[in-house]
Amino acid sequence: MQISINNFTKTFDGTPVIDDMNLTIRDGEMLALLGPSGCGKSTTLFTISGIHRMDRGQLMFGDRDVSGLPSQKRNVGVVFQNYALYPHMNVFENIAFPLTVRKDNKADIDREVRAIAALTHISELLERRPGQLSGGQQQRVALARALVRKPDVLLLDEPLANLDAKLRLEMRSEIRRIQLETGITAVLVTHDQVEAMSMCDRIAIMKKGEIVQIDTPADMYSNPRTSFVAGFLGNPPISFLSGIAMENSFSVAPIKLRVPLGVHEGIADGTQLKLGVRPEHFGPEGDIAVEGKIAFAETQGRENLYDVALADGSVLRSIQPAGRNWALGEPVRWFIDSKSAFVFSNDGQRL
């Protein structure tokens, strides 16, 4: 079901948290709400679920306006960060709870619970109490409970934050598999860009209560609209150089760096600019030479990470396949791939 939020505004105790937000989640898609802490992701999520009320705006489930409906009447499944399983009920009872509240008959409940347990691979855990489950298993139960009612939309608030690294990888693909198999519309809140990129069809990046860009992970990565977005996606992150426009080039005078602006011709000389260079676009190959020293080196097994300090003190990050290893302090003459670099105005807008 398509979910749309129109002109949503929310204020907590006089502080505006969300300002005039518009967002459409397409039918069957999984959308990530990505952003730094405190930007209003959870607020948006809990507004869709009905826990928070909108101060102004409209929330549509399909063509039904649900803005005024309480949580109970919205048919939304929520997975909370700490799973919020009912400790005194066993797994079966936990999953069955939404159905017993609806007063379905026993045989139906039993069938539905077993079907969803099979889907989430917890069929053999139905007799256990939440306290007897591992984090990953609790997560599956929480998912099953959220899905058993066949909700219009599934909401996940940082579902992986409490898991260890290995489980996180496993549950990442599991949640996606279950979402695809059920075809449910889903919203995932996270501040982990890897999670957002790997699990979701589209990402909405939020900053201070506004959505700054909404795109597919690939488009967002290769075509960020602001330096904030560029800085948020990618690990290791993009690095920025400050400079000015000079004869249709981005120029950093002290280190005699000149990167042609290409399509962005006609910028007045002297305009302050920022150049964003992703680590994979800076290395021994490329077209614009830069000299510096290795200021930081980290081995990650398959790849090595380097920080190269330039003469003026700015730093460019680089990621290189392991093999030829550069040592700390080694002087290098590396190249920026100028076609892949992003040019931003000083206030962060992409040119």
Partner: protein, 274 residues
């Protein structure tokens, strides 16, 4: 449990300190089942005669009627305290009530107040309501005096229940009331149980309120009965019978303590484990 200090010195110290009490209780118990020759310290014959008051109402008057009254008194008070605390505690912990802070501090103050100081006001209210000299009146007063404690304790237990569990319930389509009954209440069950026990024991041992608020009524609770038995000027005065009645009176409390001591400790831990 790991021990990082030896337990025996403490056990020894506690044993020495509580020895006099223990010996006294032992003598009490022995005395109720035996006769001791005057001037002697040790009993010389076993007898059940001091317990005859249980079946023979001519000795000290019927003991079962006050027992039943006391039981009724304690249990009705327990029901009131538990049900009001269970609901009020939830409301104070979770609902955005008007004057919430005021009510909370009011409860704190009431909790700290010695109840005797309220007795004149209570007396007037009972008079006015026509409940003076009635069992109902005393039960209501006793229960309301305990409510601040009960509500405060229950609020603490509710506070410890995670917010998300409640929201999950609402999201699963349950009404606030269903959520409270089926999800939240089971989480605070240990609290409810210990509060119920406390209320019952408190009611069972109450002496003053029935004396003051129902001095001329026809009901009698066990504490008043015991008082009658212990009157040295009465014609039926017998010290050993007094001891037996006293033991009979404390027996249920002791039994409850032994059965539920772990639960009772819960109330001081305030946790939800159980």
């Amino acid at each position: 449990m790991t021990r990082n200090f030896a337990a025996w010195p403490i056990i020894l110290l506690l044993t020495v300190l509580s020895l006099p009490l223990f010996v006294m209780y032992l003598f009490l118990l022995v005395d109720t089942f035996s006769n001791t020759a005057p001037g002697s310290l040790l009993p010389n014959e076993f007898t059940l005669e001091h317990w005859r008051f249980l079946i023979d109402p001519t000795i000290t008057g019927d003991v079962w009627k006050p027992t039943l009254t006391t039981f009724l008194f304690a249990s009705s008070m327990m029901v009131i305290v538990v049900s009001v605390s269970a609901t009020a505690g939830y409301a104070l912990s979770r609902l955005a009530l008007p004057f919430r802070r005021f009510v909370l501090s009011g409860i704190m103050v009431m909790h700290a107040f010695p109840s005797v100081t309220l007795i004149i006001g209570v007396f007037l209210v009972l008079q006015f309501a026509g409940l003076y000299n009635s069992l109902t009146g005393v039960i209501l007063v006793k229960a309301s005096l305990m409510l601040p404690f009960g509500i405060w304790i229950m609020k603490g237990f509710y506070d410890a229940v995670p917010w998300e569990i409640e929201m999950a319930g609402v999201q699963d389509g349950a009404s606030r009331f269903t959520v409270w009954r089926r999800i939240i209440l089971p989480q605070v069950k240990p609290g409810l149980l210990s509060l119920a026990l406390f209320a019952f024991i408190d009611g069972w041992s109450e002496y003053m309120l029935p004396r003051i608020l129902a001095p001329s009524s026809d009901f009698e609770v066990l504490s008043m009965y015991l008082n009658t038995v212990s009157d040295p000027n009465s014609s039926t005065y017998n010290f050993n019978i007094f001891k037996s009645v006293g033991l009979f009176y404390t027996l249920p409390v002791l039994a409850l303590f032994v059965l539920f001591q772990n639960r009772l400790m819960n109330i001081f831990g305030g946790g939800t484990k159980g």
